[in-house]
Amino acid sequence: MTSTVAEPIVVARGIHKHFGHLHVLKGVDLEVVERELVFVIGPSGSGKSTLLRCLNRLEEPNSGSITVAGIDMLSPRTDINHARQHIGMVFQSFNLYPHMTALGNVTLALRKVVGKSRAEADKLAHAALERVGLADRAGHRPAELSGGQQQRVAIARAIALEPRVMLFDEPTSALDPELVGSVLAVMRSLRESGMTMIVVSHEMGFARAAADRVVFMDNGLIVEQGPPAQIFEQPAHERTRAFIGQIRQH
């Protein structure tokens, strides 16, 4: 990053997470500075999604500390619902509310959490849908939209709350190949607008073009991290090399 002293906006330290007997995260440290785009890659079961889900406390870490935008996420005194407004999240399976229109999906939190009036919320939601290129689909239900469009509505739902950080959990894994591009295009434009993003994904082309840093996780730990060129071309660890080789074949 540049020489301006970029304060980390996400600081996770010593994160451990157990699911019963499974030790999924074994002491992970992650710092992300403002406007940074960090890619997290790794084999399935490596803990990358769990790490992401710990950051907004969809999963409760067993130990460690997490600060996002200056908020201590694990403190019992923290209003978690308020804190989550600053952290947008996009899921692999979109998770749009099927009983609401695209507009309704975007306005729900604006109205119920932020407390905007219906008119204000509609205006902000239209602007968010415009940003993902779906202004003309505001009145459609999720079932009437393609997977790519659903995922873009899900992105609009998150960015309408003006989060400080966006978390993407395999945002294109459930999409038909021809629909992936439209979602990546939206993510690229978000990146250009200066959004801080943490992305769990195997879209190597996108990582190479847009990521500031690639983090490789395996077996509950960060094995190595660095600029995409370094991780993809000259990985220091054998495990990273093996993994990169594997996903290249696809």
């Binding site: 989550r84 509310y97 729900l108």
Partner: protein
């Protein structure tokens, strides 16, 4: 033939019994308007409590639901009506029906709503919570609307049963449709009023049965 018409379809008696029977219909409607919402509210409370994972809530709740589903509603009603006065609590028939139905049908509505809530994928809750909605807001705006839609045929079917069960009120002298018809029968020495009650039950419930069939067919088609 003549005799059957005279006994069961006696026009003269029907005319005379009509006001009595219609007064009963009015009470049946009022009773239904009371016990259906009571049962739904009771069921909603049980279904929401069922989402609490703590064993301190879970086990008593399970015991409660099982108990009132296994307890015959007529026995429950008579027990309340005949038993409570011995505990120094004299409730009218109407109140006893309300309480019995709250306990009995609430347990049924509760199980239906619980199944509906549990049919909603976890991702819906996670998405809502990730935008800052509280657990209760998520339940109200995201989970319940979808849950109710998923179990609408079952809810409607149960409601049909509840309306039919209001005839149990006749046992504790609530002047609903069946009670009034029996009053009319006993003063006229003719079963025509009972036939009238049967016809009225059919006429008010048949549209609900039709609607139910359509919903069930639609649900089947939607699944295919």
């Amino acid at each position: 033939m003549e005799e059957i018409v005279q006994s069961f379809f006696n026009a003269e008696i029907a005319r005379a019994a009509m006001p009595i029977v219609l007064a009963g219909l009015l009470n049946t409607v009022l009773l239904s308007l009371l016990v259906v919402p009571l049962g739904v509210i009771g069921g909603l409370i049980l279904a929401l409590l069922a989402q609490v994972k703590s064993p301190a809530v879970r086990w008593p709740l399970m015991g409660w639901v099982d108990f009132f589903r296994a307890f015959p509603p007529l026995v429950l009603l008579i027990l309340l009506f005949a038993g409570l006065p011995f505990a120094g609590l004299e409730l009218g028939g109407f109140a006893c029906v309300a309480i019995a139905f709250f306990l009995n049908t609430g347990a049924y509505y509760g199980e239906i709503l619980r199944a509906g809530i549990e049919s909603i994928p976890r991702g819906q809750v996670e998405a809502a919570r990730s935008t800052g909605l509280s657990g209760m807001q998520t339940m109200t705006w995201v989970v319940l609307p979808q849950a109710v839609r998923n179990v609408l045929p079952d809810l409607l079917s149960n409601t049909l049963e509840v309306v039919k069960l209001t005839s149990l009120g006749s046992v504790v002298a609530v002047p609903e449709l069946l009670f009034q018809a029996r009053q009319a029968q006993s003063v006229t020495y003719n079963p025509t009023p009972i036939v009238m009650a049967a016809v009225i039950y059919f006429l008010i419930l048949w549209p609900v049965v039709r609607l139910l069939s359509r919903l069930e067919n639609r649900a089947l088609a939607g699944r295919g």
